[in-house]
Structure formats: structure tokens, C-alpha cells
């Protein structure tokens, strides 16, 4: 088909392969280290009782956190898009905010607040409560990880909800189905791709998170890897655990593929241009919903922020310097902004290949792009230290190297968002551009980039936010002397200077709300008026008959009643 020719450029493949190659570096490093150890011994470690116990505890945590995130996110998405919830806009922002809190800050605050002798216990003490149940171990890690990563699901589901065609639900209701049945049989299936996409981000994030599990003392692969690195300094046996984590990731990806693979592509008439009917909550409903959201905001935002404020106050009282240096803020912003640019730049070829040239190569590259995301930052960082110092001494310990690490670590976040946007661009537009004699690069610049901008911005913001919070890779790879807010929080807490850490932590959370605001604002615009968006952001005249279609990720479902080009089908495998 002609459509396929629009980007039939070796350059694109070359770029894609380059990105895939980069993303595979940590994996190659792990394989090499394991090889050094010897595969026999590696197998012994992998099949030891401890490893199997780790496998179970890691899986258990990932499943629980993912399920809870979905259960929290779907109702919130509905409440904030489809109902007459009071202060709806306020809640839209607030419910996404916990993503701005790094888990190591969140856990630390949670211990201060809900620990066996934390603030919460001191309030209950007059009532004779000597000890509150311990939050350490599975439950604490589960609660913290859920609270600070559920917005990954919420953001994708909410976007999908906004673009859901209400006429299908109306039809269901007209045919006499109850609203509950309609939700289960009509709405939920359409939300599923979005739920699965968000759940994947949460599940793999849980696998790689170190902050929560180390502070709340729950043994997972990531924590075990750190213990190995910290204590025994046996890089090879740590690599075995890292490889096991990779295998687990492959399993999760296969699971996701299965879930989204069964999903049929469906087109929806009318798209976002139609306003969905607002469901009245009723007085009781409003009270219940508001208190539930209030409770969530208290636990996920107010408690961590007040614990930080308390530490600051305690330090300030005794004249400890609590405000972070400007240079820290500048460094954090610079590195994260460059990380976002690099993430987006690397994600574009992958997303283009996946959308326009589905096939073995595209699939392989997409899978590879996930490998860095699910590995603990320290593993990715050490791989780059090894490769950088040995092979690329000119790049080692430069900002470029750190940005490169960010790219590897957070690539999938950008790929997901950009792919969702690209799926909405009709290949016929690109085709037209090529037929008018423009080359693939011009077509990319004039057509794809403008039309895909929402995805670029959303993906970039998400990567920026995650880079701000990133710790282990920043510690190991940043240029010597280059401190960021995150590393500052770490150095201060590890030496017991809580007050000094608090200032940096607060700045970190507050600055992370900037990309959060961009994400949420984008969500609003996208949901508010898709016609406006299409006209405005494209900067080109709307081409009549350009088909759009739902994307397997479901992050954007918007369409036009013309037939979708078959070539636009997303690969299902």
C-alpha cells in the first residue's frame, strides 16, 4: 500500500534501531555480567529458595498495586469527567498530583505520619492507643506505591473516558439496560485498552521502585539487588537478580499483549465533539464522593506535605538552613528538561515504526524500549558507567550521559503517549504530502509533528516529571559536583539531616507540579473540544474524510465517520 511508503525511509529504521540498541545496553550488560559469573552458578542463584521467595513477593506486590491503582482510578475518572461533582476542575488537578511525590519522599513522610510511633499515633495516644499497626513490609509498600503511582492509570483512563462516544451508552440505556450493566458491558470494554496501558506503567514501575520497598522494608528483587550492591559488592550475582527481573518484565509485557491483543479496534461515531450527558450524583452521592476524594487527597498529598513542613519547621526553629540552593533547582530543571527532549526524540522513531510499519522490527524495538523502564535505576546506571568509562570516556560523566540514561529509563512513557497521538493521524495526509513531492523529513516536520503534538507534549511532560524524581542514575551518572534536588534529599536524609532534606523535598514536589499541570491542562483541552484542538494544534486545514480511530492504548479515541484505512490497524499479536 502506498501509505506504507509515506515513511519508507531507511533513516527511520536506522534511528529506530539506534534507539533500540541504546535501550538494550543495560540488558547486554546484565547478560555479560551473568556470563562472567558462569551460567551454572547463575542458575543456582536463580533457582535458590531466596530468589523464588523474592519472585513471589515481587509479583504479589506488583499485582496488588496494579489492581488497587485500577480500582482507584476508574471511579475517579468517571467522577471527574461524567458527573456533576462539585469543584470538578479542582479534583481533576488534585487527583493527579500524587504522581509528583517521589516514593522515597512519600515513604519517609508515611513513616513519620503513620509509623508505629508517628504523628497519627501521637494523636491517638490520649485515647490510650499505645501502638498502631505496623506499616512496614507488604502493606506499607503496597499503600505507598499505590498512592503515588495510581495517577498513571488515572491519566490514561480519564483521557479515554473523555473521548468515549456517549451515543453507545445512550443506545444501551435506550435498549433498557441499567446504568450498571451499561458500564460493565459498554463502557468498561472501551476503557480496557486505556486501563491496560496505565496498568502496565504501574506494574513495571512497581518492579523497579526502590524508594518505597527499601524504606518500608519489603523484600523485592530491586531491594535485593541493592543489598547485593551495597554489601557484598558482588556485581555478578546482582546481575542474575537483574536478569530475573527482566524475565518478569517480559512476562508482564506478554500478559499486556494478550489483554490488548484481544481488543478489536473500534471506531466511534461523533467523537469528542459530542458532549456526554452529565450524570447527577444526588446529594448523598456528592457528599460521599467528595469525602472519598478528600480522604484520598489527605493521605496522598496533605499528610506527606505536612510531614515535610513539620521537618522544615523543626529545623528552622534551631536555625538549620532549610531552603535548597538555587543551583539545585536549576540543575534539576535542566537535566529533566533535556531528559524529556531526549525521551521524546527517541520515542518518535519507535512510535512511527510501530504505527506505520508494524512488523517484527517494530515489535522488537518496542519491547526493547521497555527493558530500561522495568530495571532498577542503579542497574541501568552501572551499565552506562561500565560502557561509558571503558568505551566512551569523552562522554562519561557529562550531562549528555545522564540525559541518555534518562532516555533509556523512561522511553516507554513517551512512546505510549506519542503512539496514541500518531494513531489519530490519517496516513492519507502523509500520503498526500508525499504525493505533492515532499520528502519524508519535510512530511514529518510539517505533518506528523504538528498533528502529533499532543502526544509529544504529554509524553515529554511525563518523562520530565519522572526525571525530576529519579535518584540512583542521577547519583551515579551526573557530572561530578552536579547535585539535583533529588540527590540533595538523598544525601541529607542518609546522614540524618532531616530538616535540610525537607526543603529540597518540598521544592521537588512543588516543581514537579508544573509538568503535572501541563498534563492535566492538556487533558482538559483534549476532552473539552476536540474540534478546537484539531483545528488549532494542527495548523493545517482539516482534511475532509481523514479517518481517526481508537488506539489500542485507548489514550485517545476520536474519530470521524469515514472508513479507517486498513493499513492503519495496529499490530495485534
Amino acid at each position: 500500500m502506498r501509505v506504507r511508503d509515506a515513511f519508507e525511509s531507511p533513516l527511520l529504521r536506522l534511528l529506530g534501531i539506534f534507539v533500540g540498541f541504546s535501550a538494550a545496553m543495560p540488558l547486554a550488560y546484565l547478560v555479560w555480567r551473568t556470563h562472567e559469573l558462569g551460567w551454572g552458578e547463575a542458575w543456582e542463584i536463580a533457582s535458590s529458595e531466596r530468589s523464588l521467595r523474592l519472585l513471589w513477593s515481587t509479583v504479589r506486590l506488583a499485582v496488588a498495586v496494579t489492581a488497587a491503582s485500577v480500582l482507584i482510578s476508574v471511579p475517579i475518572a468517571w467522577l471527574t469527567t461524567r458527573t456533576d461533582l462539585p469543584w470538578r476542575r479542582f479534583w481533576i488537578v488534585v487527583t493527579a498530583m500524587p504522581l509528583a511525590v517521589p516514593t522515597y519522599v512519600g515513604s519517609w513522610a508515611m513513616i513519620g505520619a503513620l509509623g508505629p510511633r508517628g504523628m497519627f499515633q501521637s494523636w491517638l495516644e490520649p485515647l490510650g492507643v499505645e501502638r498502631v499497626p505496623s506499616i512496614y513490609g507488604f502493606w506499607g509498600s503496597f499503600i505507598v506505591l499505590t498512592l503515588f503511582s495510581y495517577p498513571y492509570v488515572l491519566l490514561t483512563v480519564r483521557a479515554a473516558y473523555r473521548q468515549l462516544d456517549p451515543s453507545l451508552e445512550e443506545a444501551s440505556r435506550t435498549l433498557g439496560q441499567s446504568s450498571w450493566t451499561t458500564f460493565i458491558r459498554v463502557v468498561l470494554p472501551q476503557l480496557r485498552p486505556a486501563v491496560v496501558a496505565g496498568a502496565l506503567l504501574v506494574a513495571l514501575y512497581t518492579l523497579s521502585d526502590f524508594g518505597a520497598v527499601s524504606m518500608l522494608r519489603y523484600d523485592t528483587f530491586t531491594r535485593a539487588i541493592f543489598v547485593q550492591y551495597r554489601g557484598a559488592l558482588n556485581r555478578n550475582s546482582a546481575a542474575v537478580l537483574g536478569l530475573m527481573l527482566v524475565v518478569l518484565t517480559i512476562a508482564v509485557l506478554a500478559l499486556e499483549q494478550r489483554f490488548r491483543g484481544r481488543e478489536q479496534l473500534h471506531r466511534i461515531h461523533g467523537g469528542g465533539a459530542r458532549q456526554a450527558v452529565t450524570a447527577p450524583l444526588g446529594r448523598t452521592g456528592r457528599v460521599v464522593a467528595t469525602s472519598a476524594l478528600g480522604l484520598l487527597a489527605t493521605v496522598a498529598l496533605i499528610i506527606p506535605l505536612s510531614v515535610i513542613a513539620y521537618w522544615m519547621w523543626r529545623g528552622a526553629r534551631f536555625g538549620d538552613p532549610v531552603l535548597p540552593d538555587w543551583s539545585l533547582i536549576r540543575n534539576s530543571l535542566t537535566a529533566s528538561a533535556l531528559g524529556a527532549v531526549a525521551g521524546v526524540a527517541a520515542a518518535l522513531p519507535i512510535a512511527l515504526l510501530v504505527v506505520r510499519h508494524p512488523g517484527r522490527l517494530a515489535r522488537l524495538l518496542e519491547r526493547l524500549s521497555w527493558s530500561g523502564y522495568a530495571l532498577p535505576g542503579v542497574v541501568v546506571a552501572l551499565a552506562l558507567v561500565f560502557i561509558g568509562a571503558q568505551r566512551l570516556p569523552w562522554a562519561y560523566q557529562t550531562l549528555g550521559m545522564l540525559v541518555f540514561a534518562y532516555m533509556i529509563l523512561f522511553l516507554p512513557q513517551a512512546v505510549g503517549a506519542i503512539r496514541a497521538s500518531l494513531l489519530q493521524i490519517s496516513p492519507t495526509v502523509e500520503e498526500a504530502s508525499r504525493m505533492l513531492g515532499k520528502g519524508p523529513i519535510t512530511t514529518f516536520r510539517r505533518i506528523v509533528l504538528p498533528l502529533g503534538r499532543p502526544g509529544v507534549i504529554a509524553g515529554g511532560s511525563l518523562v520530565f516529571l519522572t526525571c525530576m524524581k529519579e535518584l540512583p542514575a542521577t547519583l551515579l551518572l551526573a557530572p561530578t559536583g552536579y547535585s539535583t534536588l533529588a540527590t540533595r534529599v538523598w544525601t541529607a536524609t542518609s546522614e540524618g539531616f532531616m530538616a535540610r532534606a525537607a526543603g529540597a523535598a518540598l521544592a521537588l514536589v512543588l516543581l514537579s507540579t508544573i509538568p503535572m499541570a501541563i498534563l492535566v491542562a492538556r487533558e482538559e483541552i483534549r476532552g473539552g473540544s476536540s474540534r478546537g484542538r484539531r483545528g488549532a494544534s494542527a495548523g493545517v486545514r482539516e482534511i475532509p474524510g481523514s479517518p481517526g480511530q481508537s488506539d489500542v492504548d485507548g489514550t485517545a479515541i476520536e474519530s470521524n465517520p469515514t472508513e479507517a484505512a486498513p493499513s492503519q490497524r495496529t499490530p495485534t499479536d
Binding site: 551495597r230 557484598a232 558507567v385 570516556p393 549528555g400 561530578t480 541529607a492
Partner: protein, 357 residues
């Protein structure tokens, strides 16, 4: 749209420029090393005012004031990479011959010993070695020195306990009366060094027995020493196995901090004195400046700063510790040499085995 494109390209250019600047630095050091092998680096060093790269396993709040002072006095620029001692060692190992680091400043003797054993450290000049009063506090291979002493102590909550309530020996915390009252940090390097020491003092079986006894008392595992101090202050646990100086930092932030140190002595297994120490990397192309830095770390001025700011124990003869802190010669030094601490792997295996990790 064009704006976005411009912004993107601008950011990219900025990134490339940043990387390019980094290149220049690195090329400079490359040139230095080239000069080293051919003619000696003296002239090169004076060119860029001599700069030094320190990998510090100790936090910025502790180390930076001393670095600042050194820069002021020597005119040598120092760049410091802060991190965890183990991670910094990993970094040096992964970097191999291309390590940009000149000095490794570690939280414990074990990591320095590991590096020394692999031939990663350069021999230190006599005058640096001689500053350290006790030979037990420096490398038997003469390639690293202890910079400050860090005593292992038991901290206790003064609201619920007095010093008399504590047992006379660390070994006795295995008594069931301490069930649920002990805090420790099994992933912490200082703690692991202590366990390595116990393996020599009490023997493998003795150390295992002690660990199992503590485990039977359901100790609360904290992430680091600072967290133990907070946990003891909050009353989450009543006693904590930690280093002597964490307490003083919390006291500096909050004078009402209800925690006190109990020092063990006279050959008790609880009386270990570990060090924070430093060595010069054998791959360093700037060893003269690095030795200068080592001299400064052991100077009376720096030792005084460590003592005042961090309550650590000076290792030189001419500086006294802060009031209330025992001097290095009054504490009984470990009978074995600190290089034995490098058998970390055996310790971690033991800790995993008894279920502490």
C-alpha cells in the same frame, strides 16, 4: 508549531553544547595523562590550577565544609561526587583504568580494604601515614588511612531507660527481655563492618549465635543510622545499634532529643571503632594534589572541624574529641586489623542466612 520545533532544536543545541563542554574537560584530563606518561604532569597541573576529583561515600553536609576550606588554602579546585560508599566503590571498579577519581573517601575500612586488595590504591607518603597515631587505624599496605574514628554504640531512649538498665555487654542483647525493643540497620555498611568484626572477635559460630539471638528478639530493621536515631527518639524501639555521632546531629536540630549514647569498652564486642578513611587511586593522574588533600584531612585544622561539626573522633595526637566523647586511645581498639573487614561477602551471606537481610 514552528515555535515548538524551534524550542526543541534550541534545547537540543543546549544539550549538545553541554555535552561538548563536558568533552573539553575530559579531553583536558586525557591530555594530562598523556603528559604524565611522557614527561610528568607538573607543568600541566599548574596550567589549570590543579583540580582534584574526590568520590565521597560520605554526605555533602559533612564533607563539603572541609573541601571548601582545603580549596581556599591550597588553591586546588576539588570536585566531589557524593554517594553511598559501596556505590562509589562500585563506580570506581566499573570505571577501571579510566576512573576520573583521584581520591576515594569511604565510610568504612572494608571498602578501602577491598580496593587496596585489588591494587586500586597508591602508596601514601610517610608523613601522611605517620600522622595517624594508631597503626591499627591505617592500611597495613600503607595505601589508605583512617581520617576519623567512628565508635559503634548503643543508643537508648532516655524517657524509658537509664544507662543502668542496659546490659554490660553488647552480647547480652540476645536476652529475651529485649524482645521487640532493639533497632538496627542490617543493610548499613557500618553495621555490616561491625558484624564482620564480630565474626573475628566471637568466631563464626559465635557471631551467628549472637545474630540468631538478636533475630529471636524481633529487632526492627531501619534503612540507615539516621532512621534508627529517629526510631529510638519516637519510642518505636528503645535501643538502637548505631554509630556514636548520629545522635549529636539530631541533637543539633532538636536539643530535646530524648536519646543518649552508651559506649562499650574493654574488649567488649560492642567496642568496635571503625574509621572513615581515604586513599589515593593508583589510576589518579594527579597524585601530588591528592596527597596534599590527604595531608589536609589529617591536619589539626581539618581534624578539629570533623570533631566540632560531626562529633567524630580525631585520629591524630594533637586534637581532642568533643566533650563527652571518648578519645581514640581510651577506646579499646579492635584486636584485629581493619583490613579483615573486607570479607563483606561472608558477612552478607551470614546476614542473609540468619534472615536479617
Amino acid at each position: 508549531m514552528n515555535r515548538l520545533l524551534k524550542l526543541l532544536s534550541l534545547l537540543l543545541v543546549a544539550a549538545l553544547l553541554g555535552a561538548a563542554c563536558g568533552n573539553d574537560d575530559d579531553n583536558d584530563t586525557d591530555d594530562d595523562s598523556g603528559a604524565d606518561t611522557t614527561a610528568g604532569a607538573g607543568s600541566d597541573d599548574s596550567d589549570d590550577g590543579a583540580s582534584l576529583v574526590v568520590y565521597s561515600g560520605r554526605g555533602e553536609d559533612l564533607v563539603q565544609p572541609i573541601i571548601d576550606r582545603f580549596e581556599e588554602e591550597s588553591g586546588i579546585t576539588v570536585e566531589v561526587r557524593y554517594g553511598n560508599s559501596a556505590e562509589m566503590l562500585l563506580l570506581i571498579q566499573e570505571e577501571g583504568d579510566n576512573s576520573p577519581a583521584d581520591v576515594y573517601y569511604s565510610q568504612g575500612a572494608g571498602f578501602l580494604g577491598t580496593l587496596s586488595e585489588g591494587g586500586g590504591l597508591a602508596d601514601l607518603p610517610e608523613d601522611v601515614l605517620d600522622r595517624v597515631v594508631d597503626p591499627a587505624l591505617r592500611s597495613p599496605n600503607d595505601d589508605w588511612v583512617g581520617v576519623t574514628g567512628r565508635a559503634r554504640t548503643v543508643i537508648f531512649n532516655t524517657d524509658v531507660l537509664s544507662e543502668d538498665d542496659l546490659p554490660d555487654s553488647l552480647a547480652e542483647f540476645t536476652d529475651p527481655e529485649w524482645n521487640g525493643r532493639i533497632g538496627w540497620a542490617p543493610t548499613n555498611a557500618s553495621f555490616q563492618d561491625h558484624v564482620t568484626a564480630l565474626r573475628f572477635i566471637l568466631g563464626e559460630d559465635g557471631a551467628r549465635e549472637w545474630l540468631e539471638g538478636i533475630m529471636a528478639n524481633n529487632p526492627v530493621a531501619f534503612e540507615n543510622n539516621g532512621a534508627i536515631a529517629e526510631g529510638v527518639a519516637d519510642g518505636e524501639v528503645e535501643v538502637g545499634l548505631t554509630n556514636h555521632y548520629y545522635l549529636y546531629r539530631s541533637l543539633a536540630e532538636d536539643p530535646d532529643f530524648p536519646v543518649q549514647n552508651k559506649y562499650y569498652s574493654d574488649g567488649d564486642p560492642g567496642a568496635l571503632v571503625n574509621i572513615a578513611g581515604a586513599g589515593v587511586l593508583s589510576t589518579s593522574d594527579n597524585q601530588d594534589a591528592a596527597f596534599e588533600f590527604m595531608r589536609f584531612l589529617l591536619s589539626a585544622e581539618a581534624q578539629q572541624m570533623f570533631s566540632e561539626a560531626n562529633f567524630e573522633i580525631p585520629v591524630v595526637a594533637d586534637v581532642e574529641p568533643q566533650a563527652g566523647i571518648p578519645s581514640i586511645d581510651s577506646l579499646v581498639l579492635p584486636v584485629f586489623d581493619l583490613n579483615l573487614l573486607l570479607d563483606l561477602e561472608g558477612t552478607v551471606d551470614l546476614l542473609i542466612d540468619v534472615g536479617a537481610l
